[in-house]
Symmetry: C2
Subunit: 256 residues, 2 copies
C-alpha cells in the first residue's frame, strides 16, 4: 500500500514520520534514552488517560514538563493519545466497536512505527458481581453476554469464533505486583465483556456491586480515587519491568 | 426510586432540576417561548455535535450567543450535550455499546424532564456500498452484520430479537425535505449497523465507496463539508416541522 491513512487517529504514513514520533525519548538529567513504545495502556475516558500519561511521566523520571503533554491525535476528536517515554496512553471510548476501531489503527500504527513486542493493557472501570466496590480485578478470561469464554464476529457472512483467554503469566505478575503495593484489594477473576477481548491484560476497578443495584452511589472523589488504583498497579508493573529489562542492569527509576 | 443518577451524563434527579434545564427558552427579540425538547439529534463526534447545536441556534433565531453554548454534560468526559431551543445535540461516541449507554440515560432523562413525543434522529457519517462519496443516506431499515433486519440482545441468557425498521413516514418526509434544498444527493436506503438500531430516523453521509477500498482519501475540508449535509437537511426538517406545529400558525423562523 502506497499510503496508510489511520483516519480516526489523524495519523498517516505519508503525513507523519511514525518511527520518529514513537522513537527515542531522553530521561531527565541523564544521557539515557528510552527507545520506542513498549507498553500501550488503554481506557475509556480521555481525561483519565491524560492523567495516567502525566502520572507515568513523573513515575519514569522523564525530561520536560509532564503537565502539558500534547495529544498526538489532537486533529480528530475520536480518541486521545499521550506518550510518556516507552508508554502510550490512549482513550478508546465505550464498548467493543469503539475499541476495535482504535485497536485496528493502533496495531497498524505500531507496525509502521517499527515497535515490536509491545504489551497492551486495558486499565478501566467496570461493574462488579459479589465483590466490594473498589476491588481491582485482573482479568484472566473475558466472557461474553452468555458467560461463554468466546468472541464471535461475523466475517463475510461466516461466524468466526475466537478465544478470549488472556496472558495468564502476565495476570499473575500483575497480582504479585499488587501485593507489593497493598494499598487496595486486588484479585484475578473473569470479566464479562459484551463482544470484546484483549490478548494482553485487563485491569479494572469495580465501581459497584451489581448484585446490590445499578446506581453508582459513591461520590466523585471516591470514584476518582478508585480510578487511580489500576493506574498505580500498572505504574508499579511498568517500572519493575523496565528495571528488569534495562540492558545495563542498573536502577533507572526511583520507586516513588 | 428515590434518586436516579444518570452517571455517564453527570446528571441526576436530586442534583439537577431536570424539567427546568430542559424547559422553556426565549426566542431572540420576541416574547415567544419554545417549550421543552422536541428533537434530539445524536452523532459520534463531540466537535460535530457542538457545531450542529451552534448551527441550530442560528437557524432557530434563539436569543443569546450561540457560539458559547455550555456543555450540559461537562462534568463527565463520556458524552457532550448542547441545547438549542427545542433541540438537544448529543455526541454518542462510536458503536452500539457507547450509543446504548447514552440512549438508556437519555430516555430516563427525557422522562424526568417531562418531555413527550420527542423525535430522535442520528446524523452521522458512514461507509457506502455502490454510492458516491457525499451521498446523504436516509435509513429505512438497519441491518446487522449478516444483512438481516434484526437486533439481537442477550437478556438473562435469552436471545431477544427486535425489529430494526425505522419510521417510514419520517424517512419520506426527510427525503422530500432534501429535494427542497437540493444542495447534495440524498436517497432512502438500508444501513448496516453491527448491533444497533434507532426507532427514529438515521441520516448519514457516506464518506467513501467501500467497493473501491477502505481508505478515506478525501481531504479534511471535503470531509467537513460532507458532514454539513446531514446537518443542513435536519435543520430544514426541524424548521419546517416547528412552523407547522406553531399554535398561532404564524411564521416564526426565516428559512436562512
Amino acid at each position: 500500500m502506497e499510503e496508510d491513512i489511520l483516519h480516526h487517529l489523524d495519523l498517516g504514513t505519508k503525513t507523519h514520520n511514525l518511527p520518529a514520533v514513537f522513537g527515542d525519548i531522553k530521561l531527565r538529567n541523564t544521557n539515557t534514552f528510552m527507545f520506542y513504545i513498549q507498553f500501550v495502556c488503554v481506557g475509556g475516558s480521555p481525561n483519565r488517560m491524560r492523567a495516567f500519561a502525566q502520572f507515568m511521566h513523573k513515575q519514569l523520571g522523564l525530561a520536560g514538563n509532564g503537565e502539558d503533554l500534547a495529544d498526538i491525535c489532537a486533529g480528530m476528536d475520536r480518541y486521545t493519545m499521550y506518550r510518556a517515554g516507552p508508554v502510550l496512553s490512549i482513550s478508546h471510548g465505550m464498548g467493543i466497536p469503539s475499541i476495535s476501531v482504535m485497536l485496528h489503527e493502533l496495531i497498524k500504527l505500531l507496525h509502521h512505527a517499527k515497535c515490536r513486542d509491545v504489551t497492551i493493557i486495558r486499565i478501566g472501570t467496570s461493574g462488579g458481581l459479589g465483590i466490594k466496590p473498589g476491588t481491582v480485578v485482573i482479568t484472566d478470561t473475558a466472557v461474553d453476554s452468555s458467560f461463554k469464554p468466546r468472541f464471535e464476529q461475523v466475517v463475510l457472512d461466516d461466524v468466526v469464533v475466537q478465544s478470549t483467554e488472556l496472558d495468564k503469566d502476565l495476570a499473575k505478575e500483575l497480582l504479585a505486583c499488587s501485593k507489593e503495593i497493598s494499598d487496595f484489594p486486588a484479585l484475578i477473576s473473569h470479566t464479562m465483556c459484551a463482544y470484546d477481548f484483549y490478548e494482553a491484560a485487563v485491569v479494572c476497578v469495580a465501581l459497584l456491586d451489581r448484585l446490590e443495584g445499578d446506581q453508582i452511589r459513591a461520590p466523585h472523589e471516591v470514584l476518582w480515587e478508585y480510578q487511580q488504583w489500576p493506574q498505580c498497579l500498572i505504574a508499579a508493573f511498568i517500572r519493575k519491568h523496565l528495571r528488569l529489562c534495562s540492558p545495563a542492569g542498573n536502577k533507572l527509576f526511583s520507586t516513588n
